[in-house]
């Protein structure tokens, strides 16, 4: 760019900068920018919902236009109506209560055992030598492979479902507790010893809090498994629960109620995950990763 051109350009620019209308338009432009930022922020929030919304709309239109048979896939509105009907009659809550009760009882039994055994094998060397290889062997059997055996042992009543859920949630909690304890920084334990902490003090103040983040990872894995096993167990046979609700609806070709059941499983799963995340955020609030 030649000197002359540059001067000409500067001349043009300074001529632009002077008039009052330019400044005003600058302000207006600034306001527009803020609005644009706001819209962008809102857009960022809404964007993840766009695809699900679109899918549901297409689904609704396809159903109401009769492109999809109601028996294959009832319209979203029909599913909502079925949901409302079941909620009103109280039937829905009874089944949800029974299913959630089964799941949580199984989690308490299996998870509690996993936690206790993980703490033992993680903390005491000879207990690890005694038990860990056996536990690792059993771990490789998928819980669902036990179904025929479980039916032979317990029949098809509550005990069978509880047993399956307990077995499934046991392993993630056991393994993560064990590794959590083993991965506590030995430097911290040594520090605790030099500061005169007793064995129990070391355990309560250093080893358990150090293993907690790992234990919570195990809990989240277990929660996911818990619902999967519950669904399978309830589908095989049940006299009550969400599985019973859906299997019963299948007999009567009530596809909308089947969809309500599936949505319920999704909601309960999400709820459990939110709860586990909340625990993490509270217990690990010292951790930069959870702040």
């Amino acid at each position: 760019m030649s000197q002359k051109e540059l001067e000409a350009l500067c001349g043009v620019e300074s001529a632009f900068a002077q008039p009052a209308w330019y400044i005003e338009s600058q302000n207006a432009w600034g306001l527009g920018l803020k609005l644009q930022n706001l819209l962008q922020a809102v857009g960022q929030r809404l964007l993840p919902w766009l695809v699900p919304l679109l899918l549901v709309s297409v689904w609704q239109i396809a159903s109401s236009q009769g492109w999809i048979s109601v028996r294959v896939l009832p319209a979203p509105l029909a599913v909502l109506q079925a949901f409302g009907r079941l909620a009103e009659s109280g039937e829905l809550w009874t089944h949800v209560q029974i299913s959630a009760g089964r799941a949580l009882l199984g989690l308490a039994v299996g998870g509690g055992l996993g936690l206790a055994l993980g703490l033992f094998t993680g903390s005491i060397r000879w207990v690890e030598t005694l038990l860990d290889s056996s536990i690792q062997m059993v771990r490789n059997i998928p819980a669902l492979a036990l179904i025929p055996l479980v039916i032979l042992w317990f029949g098809i009543d509550e005990t069978a479902k509880l047993f399956l859920i307990s077995v499934a949630v046991f392993f993630p909690i056991y393994i993560n507790t064990f590794h959590g304890i083993r991965n506590v920084d030995p430097g911290l334990i040594e520090m605790g010893r030099t500061y005169g902490l007793s064995q129990w003090g070391l355990y309560r103040q250093i080893i358990l809090p150090g293993a907690l983040s790992s234990i919570l990872v195990g809990l989240r894995f277990s929660l996911g498994l818990m619902w999967v096993i519950l669904i399978v167990a309830e589908t095989i046979s049940a006299q009550a629960g969400i599985g019973y609700l859906t299997m019963n609806a299948r007999e009567f070709l009530q596809t909308d109620v089947v969809l309500v059941g599936i949505l319920l499983y999704a909601l309960l799963g999400k709820l459990a995950d939110v709860f586990a995340k909340g625990l993490e955020r509270y217990w690990l609030r010292w951790h930069p990763g959870y702040q």
């Binding site: 030099t194 005169g196 902490l197 250093i206 010292w286």
Partner: protein, 275 residues
């Protein structure tokens, strides 16, 4: 920063311990890490141990701490033979080793009865962190973490403070601040201090005596008679630092100049390469 520390003493009972290492040695299997070491440290003395990495200086500190048991010889505190961890001894490690799940105040109060939490807050104020009591350790800088670790050690009124390269990971400016802080607290409390470091300047700045360990044995015991607080720009400081540094860098197999053989209080095996 260095002027904000109060000079009131943390403890009521002042004084450090007399430490005596008698033929102390440590071997891991076949490998002899520390040979029969003879060393006496007077009450309230500040002794720095320097040496290349792997020379056995950290092992010496861990033996004195009671974290390791010697395979030969014995350790005496105030003329009594001791073994294992002791109440009157506290260690500051290379890493701060704070519990990340406890707030700063609770870290300092570790192992203290509940009634003495006030003391923890007071010591934290003395190391200049009186306003960060409720912070998580993850939010602190490296220097602040080491100051919390120092407060945690001092709240127990130790009579022997062991420092295992506690400032190795800090930047130069923070290190100089920490030197002043450690010197001040040592001066106020009168404990015996044993510092392991690979920084010769740090050793000369802080210690009454600098001891060089080479291949598991004491190779040099140099008294530093500079007045405190010491200025790093001082000609005598620089000369001492250079002399010790040159000696550290010298290979043990090389011939020694004649004037270096007159160190006080060394047993013959300590200078085996020189005689």
């Amino acid at each position: 920063m260095t002027t904000t520390f109060t000079s009131t003493s943390i403890s009521t009972t002042a004084g450090g311990v007399r430490l005596a290492l008698q033929n102390l040695g440590k071997a891991y299997g076949q490998r002899q890490v520390l040979h029969n070491t003879q060393l006496t440290i007077e009450p309230g003395e500040f002794v720095a141990i320097v040496g290349r990495s792997g020379c056995g200086k950290s092992t010496l500190l861990r033996l004195v701490a009671g974290l390791e048991t010697p395979t030969q010889g014995q350790l005496q505190v105030n003329a009594q033979e001791v073994q294992g961890l002791r109440e009157d001894t506290r260690i500051m490690f290379q890493e701060a080793r704070l519990l990340p799940w406890r707030r700063v105040l609770d870290n300092v109060a570790l192992g203290l009865p509940d009634a003495q939490r006030e003391a923890a807050a007071r010591v934290l104020a003395q190391v200049g962190l009186g306003d960060r009591l409720n912070e998580w350790p993850a939010k602190l800088s490296g220097g602040q973490r080491q100051r919390v670790a120092l407060a945690r050690a001092l709240v127990h009124n130790p009579r022997l403070l062991l420092l295992d390269e506690p400032l190795g990971a800090l930047d130069a400016l923070t290190r100089i601040e920490m030197h002043a802080l450690i010197e001040q607290l040592w001066h106020d409390n009168g404990f015996t201090a044993l510092l392991v470091t690979h920084d010769v300047q740090e050793a000369v700045a802080l210690a009454d005596r600098v001891i060089l360990i080479e291949e598991g044995a004491i190779a040099l015991d140099e008294r530093i008679d500079l007045p405190r607080p010491r200025s790093r720009g001082d000609a005598r400081f620089a000369a001492l630092e250079k002399r010790i540094l040159d000696r550290v860098l010298q290979h043990p197999d090389e011939e020694q100049p004649a004037h270096d053989t007159s160190w006080p209080g060394l047993p013959v095996h300590g200078v085996r390469w020189a005689v």
